[in-house]
Amino acid sequence: MDISVFQTIWFVLWGVLWAVYFMLDGFVFGTGFLAGVLAKNDTEKRVLINAVGPVWDGNEVWLITAGGATFAAFPTTYALMFSNLYSALLLLLFSLIVRGVSFEFRGKLESATWKGAWDKAIIVSSFLPSLLFGVAFGNIFKGIPMKNDFTALNFTYDGTLIGLLNPYGLVTGVLFVLLFAVHGSLYAAIKTTGDLSKRSAVLANKLWLPLLVVAVVFLGYTYPATKLYDNFLKAPLLLIIPVIAVASLLLVKFFAAKGQCYKAFTFSCLTIVFVVFTGVTGLFPNLIPSSIDPASNLTIFNSSSSLLTLQIMTVVALICVPTVIAYKIWVYRLFRAPVSNEDVLGSHEAY
């Protein structure tokens, strides 16, 4: 098979990894930064943390995998994406570090000051990555100011951290925050019990309208700000992807309003996945476009690994990814029961 086949396979996998990552870590971020609003006391906070406890680490690995897959399949993109967006990624990294230890450390001392400090840490370190991922992807959709010469191997970047906070980047950032907020409150609604669950469902319903408004602004603004729609105009059949995203978003409200939070959460998963698919489909065959020079776009063709490496990685992915999905489904089923106040109070092991 021709190398472009494998490059395309890896482009699709690249999109899938990001989509699954945002779907899974999205609800951890959402419950994290909403913990202060949703939980009224320490026990409820613990319930929320324990609701994501068994799965958050495994969810975060999708990010490591997305990063690793970019490195393995598109090393030039990995290299330039990470170095050009240095400061933004650093903030993201610090947040992820703090969030991870917060879950583990919070319950280790019986002190209100200690717990209060980690509660704040969880809120900030869940909110910041949500925003930053959105800003980063907004800028990727739009293109970043880089000039790349692939024959002379000369790569320059002309952007700054502040430059990333352009209006379109910020709209995408807010979109991500609201997507994760609705997603996280729906997760809290189905994974907790009693008042906490009810409050979460109410919040999800309230947050849906702002999300819809921002989603409409995002879809509209994408037309002048990016070239994402070009692919859809060339092949209108692809419009099915954003249509599923929008339909799912509407169904989130349809079911949430009826109090059917499981179904609402399922469609919230689909919304996130198809929002990412919409963006990624619009990018193809670019991974990161340049905002100043189309010849400098990082594409799957000019930034990929060799045919051999792509073939090896395809075999690895074919074996590993289904296995991972299988045991992850087993774990989600094992911990499918909602967490109650009594569960947390009666357990030595809970966070």
Binding site: G68, A72, A79, F82, E104, S306, C320
Partner: protein, 448 residues
């Protein structure tokens, strides 16, 4: 300082910090899994209490190992983008494989292990810690194979302005990587065993839970001895491999300036890099260095002077780190031998001087681990990929001194804080001792 030096400092600092937590994870996960296996096979509740107590310390330590690992993956692209672009065709694959094969397994089953005590059967629960533990060890293997490729690049061809994969099997079977893996793994097991001995000694000195800590100490002593000896033996093979494939590193480790045959080893030695010789050379064991390097008393050893100055690693720190690592390793072998002997006597808790020594011995393997990495990475300089790509050519071009200085400062503050908290918690929970009441788990598991 320039971007290269700052990035090197940052990579060294974050890597070494990461490596405070990883060896204990490697060793303590296996030991905890083994304790739980003993519980499941014998039904003796003491083993369950041991699993819970040492497992708690394992988890506190594990948290920081995981989060600081993400930094390592990010930094290849953030600070070393030229490196990533140049070798990504080979180096990226192991990283992606590590994530899909090992990290998922590890993180998912650690979650089940922590939260699953009452949800699955005893046996299934034991399997989860084994899966997590094996995954951790696989991850060490894969990342060390990747590191080995930087030390001894194999299976590649220079093409299209970069190093491209030619034979993946050769990369996976790189002998340098397998020796390094075995050496590193055993050292991690030894470190965990020394921690168990040290903490047990602390409690025995205070008369707490004598049976519990004697049993812990006894197992750990055997582990510590076997793995310390194993670390030494594999270290010897590792040195042979280095002498063969990285002669400039070997010469710096031994501060050998002249190329000679049948070289002896000076037990007392102090390098003088400015004058390209040694300031002190005393107590020479004849032919020992040739023996160490090639297992042949008359072998020729290439001296530093045979390398152009700009291709030599920093001699003094490489040499000192190597000597300190080897010295600490020797002390560990001797102490653990005594520990086996004394732990088999009835009155271990009365050997106060020895128990005190074991408490103070906890940092020894930690230091040895750090020195080991210093030898490995400093000794490879000025190369990032030995003989293929220089560190100075590997750094990102789009980042500035200010950016890296700030990030280094950020890492120092954040890691300093988290490290202090983690050590504080480890000490607190180590001192607290094992829980008495395990009724909730045992009852529920009885039903399962």
């Amino acid at each position: 300082m320039d971007v290269v030096t700052l990035s090197q400092l940052q990579f060294a600092a974050t890597g070494m910090f990461h490596w405070i937590f990883v060896p204990l994870t490697l060793g303590l996960s296996i030991l905890t899994a083994w304790m739980e296996t003993r519980y499941v096979t014998t039904g003796d509740e003491m083993w369950l209490r041991m699993t819970k107590f040492w497992g708690k310390l394992f988890l506190i330590n594990f948290a920081l190992g995981v989060v600081t690992g993400i930094t390592m993956e990010f930094q290849f692209g953030m600070n070393w983008s030229e490196y990533s672009r140049y070798v990504g065709d080979i180096f990226g694959a192991p990283l992606a494989i590590e994530a899909t094969l090992a990290f998922f397994l590890e993180s998912v089953f650690i979650g089940v292990w922590i939260f699953g005590w009452n949800k699955i059967s005893k046996k299934a629960h034991m399997v989860t810690i084994w899966l997590a533990s094996v995954a951790t060890n696989i991850s060490a293997l894969i990342i060390l194979l990747a590191n080995a490729w930087m030390q001894k690049p194999v299976g590649y061809v220079l093409r299209n302005g970069r190093a491209e994969m030619e034979n993946f099997l050769t990369v996976l079977t790189n002998p340098y990587g397998w020796i390094k893996f075995t050496h590193t793994l055993l050292s991690g097991y030894a470190l965990a065993a020394f921690l168990i001995m040290g903490v047990s000694a602390w409690h025995l000195l205070r008369g707490n839970e004598i049976d519990f800590f004697k049993r812990s100490f006894k197992i750990a002593a055997v582990w510590a001895f076997v793995t310390s000896v194993g670390t030494g033996l594999t270290g010897d093979f590792h040195a042979v491999e280095i002498a063969k494939t990285q002669p400039s590193k070997f010469a710096a480790m031994e501060s050998q300036w002249e190329t000679k045959r049948g070289v002896g080893m000076n037990l007392l030695l102090l390098p003088d890099p400015a004058r390209e010789c040694n300031a002190v050379e005393q107590v020479c064991v004849p032919n020992a260095l040739s023996m160490l390097a090639f297992h042949d008393p008359n072998a020729e050893i290439k001296g530093l002077k045979d390398f152009p100055k700009e291709l030599r690693p920093m001699v003094t720190p490489t040499f000192l780190s190597f000597r300190l690592m080897a010295g600490l390793g020797t002390i560990m072998i001797l102490t653990s031998l005594v520990a086996i002997f004394l732990s088999r006597k009835q009155n271990l808790e009365k050997r106060r001087w020895f128990l005190t020594l074991m408490v103070f011995a906890i940092p020894a393997p930690y230091l040895a681990e750090q020195f080991g990495w210093l030898v490995s990475e400093l000794g490879r300089q000025p190369w990032i990929v030995y003989g293929v790509l220089k560190t100075a050519d590997a750094v990102s071009k789009s980042i500035t001194t200010t950016q890296v200085a700030l990030s280094l400062l950020g890492f120092t503050v954040l890691y300093g804080l988290l490290g202090a908290i983690d050590i504080f918690l480890l000490v607190k929970y180590a001192k607290k001792g094992p829980d008495k009441d395990l009724s909730t788990i045992v009852n529920v598991q009885g039903r399962a």
